[in-house]
C-alpha cells in the first residue's frame, strides 16, 4: 500500500466489559464469557482517542484501527469507526491469539500501511499481559514508549511527517519523559486522555466506513500457541473481618495483633 499519507495504526482488542464480574467455570476450563457484555479494551479506547486527537490537530491524515480475533470483533471495530477511525482491518483468527502472534500480525500491518505511529493500550483487561506493544516494537526494530500519559509530536520529515515523539510515561518512580524517533510504538496509560462518547449519527456513518477482513495465513503469520492453559481457579478469598466502633477500638485491635 502506498506510503506518503500520514497514518496512525491503532491496535484494539475485544474484551469482557470492565464492569462484568468475572467467574471461573466450575470445571476449571476457563472463565464464563457466554452472554457476557463485550467491549473495546478501555486502554485501547484511550489509544484510539489519542490517534483521533493527533489527526484533529492536523499531524495525521488517517487513523486505521486493527484487531486480531474472531468474527464478533467486528462489533468493536464498528465502535471504533463510530468514534472516528477512518477504516478498520480485521485479522480473522479463532481461538487463542497470544501476544507474540498479535505482534507479528500487527508487524505485517505496519509493513502494509507504513504508519508513523502505532498506538495500543498498555494492557488488555482480560489477560492483563501487557506485552503486545513492546513485542511489536522489538519485531519492528523501532522505539517503544509504554504507559504514556502525555504525547507530543515534533519535527517534520521531508514528506511532512512528524519526526519525533516526546512521551511522558507513568513509571514506578513518577513520570519519565522519553524522546523517540518515529515511527514508534506507544502504549497508553489511563490518564492520557478521556475517550469521547459515540453519538448515534456516528454509528450510522460508521456502517459505511471500510472494514477489511484478512487472515493470519494471508499475512503469513502462524497462530502458534506456546502456553498451555492448564486450569483456571478462583482467587483465594480473604476472610471477612470485624467492625470496630471507634478509633480507640481500632488502635487496641491493631496493638493486640502486634501491628502497632
Amino acid at each position: 500500500m502506498a506510503s506518503g499519507m500520514k497514518r496512525i495504526l491503532v491496535g484494539i482488542k475485544r474484551v469482557v466489559d470492565y464492569n462484568v464480574r468475572i467467574r471461573v467455570k466450575p470445571d476449571a476450563s476457563g472463565v464464563i464469557t457466554d452472554g457476557v457484555k463485550m467491549s473495546v479494551n478501555p486502554f485501547d479506547e484511550i489509544a484510539l482517542e489519542e490517534a483521533l486527537r493527533i489527526k484533529e490537530r492536523g499531524a495525521a491524515e488517517e487513523v486505521i484501527v486493527a484487531t486480531i480475533g474472531p468474527a464478533d470483533c467486528q462489533q468493536q471495530l464498528r465502535t471504533c469507526l463510530a468514534m472516528g477511525a477512518d477504516r478498520a482491518l480485521h485479522v480473522q483468527a479463532d481461538g487463542i491469539v497470544e501476544p507474540l502472534v498479535a505482534a507479528r500480525a500487527l508487524l505485517k500491518l505496519t509493513e502494509r500501511e507504513q504508519p508513523f505511529l502505532v498506538i495500543l493500550g498498555k494492557q488488555a483487561i482480560d489477560d492483563d499481559n501487557s506485552q503486545t506493544g513492546q513485542m511489536l516494537a522489538a519485531l519492528w526494530q523501532r522505539p517503544q514508549a509504554t504507559f504514556a500519559s502525555k504525547v507530543q509530536l515534533d519535527g517534520a520529515t521531508p514528506e511532512g511527517q512528524p519526526r519525533l515523539a516526546r512521551v511522558t510515561r507513568e513509571v514506578d518512580a513518577g513520570l519519565e519523559t522519553l524522546e523517540v524517533e518515529l515511527p514508534a510504538v506507544i502504549t497508553t496509560d489511563l490518564r492520557l486522555n478521556e475517550p469521547r462518547y459515540v453519538k448515534l449519527p456516528d454509528i450510522m456513518k460508521a456502517k459505511k466506513k471500510p472494514l477489511e477482513t484478512l487472515t493470519l495465513a494471508a499475512l503469513g503469520v502462524e497462530q502458534r500457541q506456546r502456553l498451555k492453559l492448564v486450569r483456571f481457579d478462583p482467587p483465594a478469598q480473604r476472610q471477612k473481618g470485624i467492625k470496630v466502633k471507634d478509633a480507640a477500638e481500632l488502635v487496641a485491635a491493631l496493638k493486640s495483633k502486634g501491628l502497632l
Binding site: 501487557s130 513518577g174 483456571f232 480473604r238
Partner: protein, 315 residues
C-alpha cells in the same frame, strides 16, 4: 540437569531495587535453579556487588555501557537478548521497568512471556492472575522452550543477603539502538518509605475530596506510623495524589503488613493491588462499601473525625 536462570536486575544506578531480590526468591522455586543476575549499568560496580550479596545468586554479569546510564527498554533488551542464549529462564520484576523491557526481550528471543508469575509449580508450570485477579490461571510452556517471565513482586519475599557470588564483566556484542533518548524523570520525592516495599501503607481515596485534604489528612498519620502513602485510582484521576502512588490493577501491587484504606470504596481493580496485604483496615462512611468485605478491621464513620483521633491515640 540444572535450570539456568537469568534475572534482569532493576536499579537506579546506585541501588539495586528490592524487586530483584524477589525475583531471586521466585527463581529459587524452580527446581535445580542456577541463578545469574544481569546488571546493565554505565558503572555497574555498586549494583553488581549488591546483587552478588543476595543468597541464591551464583553469578553476576555486569554489562557496562554508557547507554545504560538510564535503563531504556530498547537498549537493555538488545543486551539481554545477546546474553540469553544458554539460559532456560529469563526473569524480571513485574514493575514498570520489567513490564517495559521483558516483552521486548521475549520477542527478540522468539519466546512467549508469562506475565505476573505468582507461584512456581515446576520449571515449566506457573500460576498467574488474570481479569484483575478475579481468576488464577495455571500455564505450562512447551518442554524445551525458553521461559520469559515477569515476577509479581507482592507474591515473593525478598531473598536475604549473605551471599558472595562472583561478578563477571562479559563482552556483549549487541547493537544498541540510538532511536530512544532519556529526557527526564520527575524527582522521586520524600524521605517517606517506598510504597512498593513499605511494611505499612496509608492509602486515600476519592472521599478525601481535594489534594489539600489528601495531604493534610493522610501525611501526618503516615508519618506517625512510618508508613508509605498510597492512593486509589479515583484519587489520582481527581488530581489529589500523583500517579506513582496509585495502588491497584494498573498501578502498584503491594503486600504490606498493614494497609489502611481511608475513604476508598474498594473497586475490584483496587482490591487486586492489596490482596496480599497481611492486615487491611478500612475507614469509610459507607457501611456497604465493598472494601469492608476484605478488611480485617472496618470502621464506619467520617474519616475527617476519625483520622485526627487516630493520630492523637498514636502520639
Amino acid at each position: 540437569m540444572s535450570n539456568r536462570i537469568l534475572i534482569v536486575a532493576e536499579h537506579d544506578g546506585t541501588h539495586l531495587n528490592a524487586s530483584t531480590a524477589k525475583c531471586v526468591t521466585c527463581a529459587m522455586g524452580i527446581p535445580d535453579a542456577e541463578i545469574t543476575v544481569a546488571v546493565c549499568a554505565a558503572d555497574a560496580n555498586a549494583v553488581a556487588s549488591q546483587a552478588a550479596a543476595l543468597t541464591g545468586v551464583a553469578r553476576v554479569l555486569a554489562l557496562e555501557h554508557p547507554a545504560n546510564a538510564h535503563l531504556l527498554a530498547a537498549a537493555v533488551a538488545a543486551q539481554i537478548a545477546a546474553l540469553a542464549g544458554p539460559f532456560n529462564h529469563v526473569l524480571g520484576p513485574s514493575t514498570t521497568f520489567g513490564k517495559d523491557v521483558m516483552p521486548r526481550i521475549a520477542a527478540l528471543l522468539d519466546a512467549a512471556q508469562i506475565s505476573d508469575i505468582m507461584a512456581v509449580e515446576s520449571a515449566t508450570r506457573f500460576r498467574r492472575p488474570i481479569y484483575a485477579g478475579n481468576a488464577i490461571v495455571t500455564v505450562e510452556v512447551e518442554a524445551g522452550a525458553k521461559v520469559l517471565g515477569t515476577v509479581r513482586t507482592a507474591s515473593f519475599q525478598a531473598a536475604p543477603t549473605g551471599g558472595s557470588a562472583p561478578v563477571e564483566k562479559p563482552a556483549v556484542s549487541a547493537e544498541i539502538p540510538a532511536h530512544t533518548r532519556f529526557v527526564s524523570v520527575s524527582a522521586a520525592s520524600s524521605d517517606r518509605p517506598d510504597l512498593q516495599t513499605a511494611a505499612r501503607v496509608v492509602s486515600g481515596g476519592r472521599a478525601l475530596g481535594s489534594a489539600e485534604a489528601f495531604q493534610k489528612t493522610l501525611y501526618g498519620l503516615a508519618d506517625k506510623l512510618h508508613a508509605a502513602v498510597g492512593a486509589s485510582r479515583a484519587a489520582v484521576d481527581a488530581g489529589y495524589a500523583p500517579n506513582e502512588l496509585q495502588v491497584g490493577q494498573t498501578g502498584k501491587i503491594i503486600a504490606p503488613e498493614l494497609y489502611l484504606a481511608i475513604g476508598i470504596s474498594g473497586a475490584i481493580q483496587h482490591l487486586t493491588g492489596i490482596k496480599d496485604a497481611r492486615t487491611i483496615v478500612a475507614i469509610n462512611k459507607d457501611s456497604e462499601a465493598p472494601i469492608f468485605e476484605v478488611a480485617d478491621f472496618g470502621l464506619v464513620g467520617d474519616l475527617f473525625q476519625i483520622i485526627p483521633e487516630l493520630e492523637r491515640l498514636l502520639a
